[in-house]
């Protein structure tokens, strides 16, 4: 019945960009090393898992671009400074990680409600992009050896796994609530009228 309209896609992309921003500016979990360790990465992977590769990627890009002028990166410092700093690699990795996570989850929409599967997709995406580009940039900007940079980065593994557990719990719940989000050809609908079953 209702078509999947481009305006709904735009609203979802913008809505999740705002959600990542809120995740990033909610109080941080303090760790001392200063690399982002907030709910930001949770928001990024969740966006991929819920919206799929294309909308997920665009949503994270929108968040990053808006962050150039709005203080919505974790830590709350003014946006673009992060690109000049040691954390740029993490930011650049975010849309790629969201896209990969979304691609893996959306490959078969029935998988979108499987906790273990979504958890694995999130973790995999985060290791392929976040934990590679992040420390590589750290090494380059802070003039550290690769070994030093990667061992700094490894401090985030436990937190990352915990965040991925929560991410997968929530993404699967959202896909159960809105089964047509990940369905390839079925239309989106917002009407509140399930009404009668067809004979």
């Amino acid at each position: 019945m209702t078509r999947r309209t481009p305006t709904t896609d735009v609203a979802l992309i913008a809505g999740f960009a705002a959600l990542i921003a809120v995740c990033a500016i909610l109080p941080d979990i303090k760790t001392g090393v200063g690399v982002p360790y907030s709910l930001q990465t949770f928001g990024v992977l969740l966006t991929g898992a819920v919206l799929g590769p294309v909308r997920g990627f665009l949503s994270v890009v929108l968040y990053l671009v808006a962050g150039l002028v709005l203080p919505i990166y974790s830590g709350g410092a003014s946006g673009i400074s992060h690109y000049s700093g040691v954390t740029a690699g993490y930011l650049v990795a975010f849309p790629l990680a969201a896209a990969l996570c979304g691609y893996l989850v959306y490959r078969n929409h029935r998988n979108a409600t499987q906790f273990t599967l979504v958890f694995t997709c999130g973790l995999l995406s985060s290791f392929v992009f976040v934990h590679t580009l992040g420390p590589l940039n750290l090494a380059w900007r802070a003039d550290l050896s690769l070994k030093e940079a990667f061992s700094f980065d490894a401090a985030y593994f436990p937190g990352d796994i915990a965040k991925n557990v929560v991410m997968a719990l929530i993404a699967t719940a959202v896909h159960r609530a809105f089964p047509d989000l990940a369905a390839r050809r079925s239309p989106a609908t917002t009407t509140d009228e399930p009404a009668t079953q067809s004979a």
């Binding site: 309209t5 481009p6 609203a11 002028v69 946006g79």
Partner: protein
């Protein structure tokens, strides 16, 4: 702009306020490449002088500059300590000094660039991509929706957190994050419908 996390923009008439957005971004990019490619005491001193001068010209208030640095203070201090220990004080100054300078220059950018000008610039840059199916107006709309969405999402986050607390579930992130995300999706769909009804998908 009265969105809740207020932008860093300060209205003004300095030369930085008048420069095109693209020129400012390009300048920042070039300087951050210079900082890494020509690493040395003179480069770092040069960048620091440039950054301080930029802040003064742009009228960045001291408090604002301090706030920009505060977010990364711990990281910078740790990095400085580590570099001093491993490679000596001069090297620590070169690396950390350049990073601080770039941070201040970035603050000059955010202080002198309003969200409207940023969105206008992006819409303009996307113009040539129209033939590939990119709709710059929809992109500009996405920015507005997002900025509008931040206080809204913060409000929903507060409500769902209160609801979880009322049920004694405040230690369970799932109890308030799940309804939060579900409401974000539901709201986005209602918004998509409303935009469609206002003819925005037809442009």
């Amino acid at each position: 702009m009265t969105a809740s996390p207020l932008g860093d923009y300060q209205p003004g008439t300095s030369v930085f306020h008048q420069l095109p957005v693209g020129a400012k971004l390009l300048g920042l990019l070039v300087l951050s490449i210079v900082a890494v490619s020509f690493r040395g005491v003179p480069t770092t001193i040069g960048l620091l002088v440039l950054a301080v001068a930029g802040c003064v010209v742009a009228g960045v208030r001291l408090r604002r500059a301090a706030r920009a640095l505060r977010g990364v203070l711990v990281a910078m201090t740790l990095l400085a300590a580590y570099q001093t220990w491993q490679r000596g004080g001069e090297h620590a100054f070169v690396v950390v000094g350049a990073l601080v300078a770039l941070l201040l220059l970035a603050t000059v950018f955010t202080t002198t660039t309003s969200v409207e000008r940023m969105v206008d610039a992006i819409t303009r840059w996307l113009g040539p991509f129209r033939r590939f199916g990119v709709n710059p107006e929809l992109v500009a709309l996405a920015f507005s929706l997002m900025i509008r969405g931040i206080p809204l999402t913060l409000a929903i986050a507060g409500e769902t957190r209160d609801a979880a607390r009322a049920r004694g579930l405040e230690r369970n992130p799932r109890a308030y994050l799940t309804p939060l995300v579900i409401r974000v999706v539901a709201h986005a769909r209602a918004t998509g419908d409303a935009l469609h009804a206002r003819g925005l998908g037809d442009d």
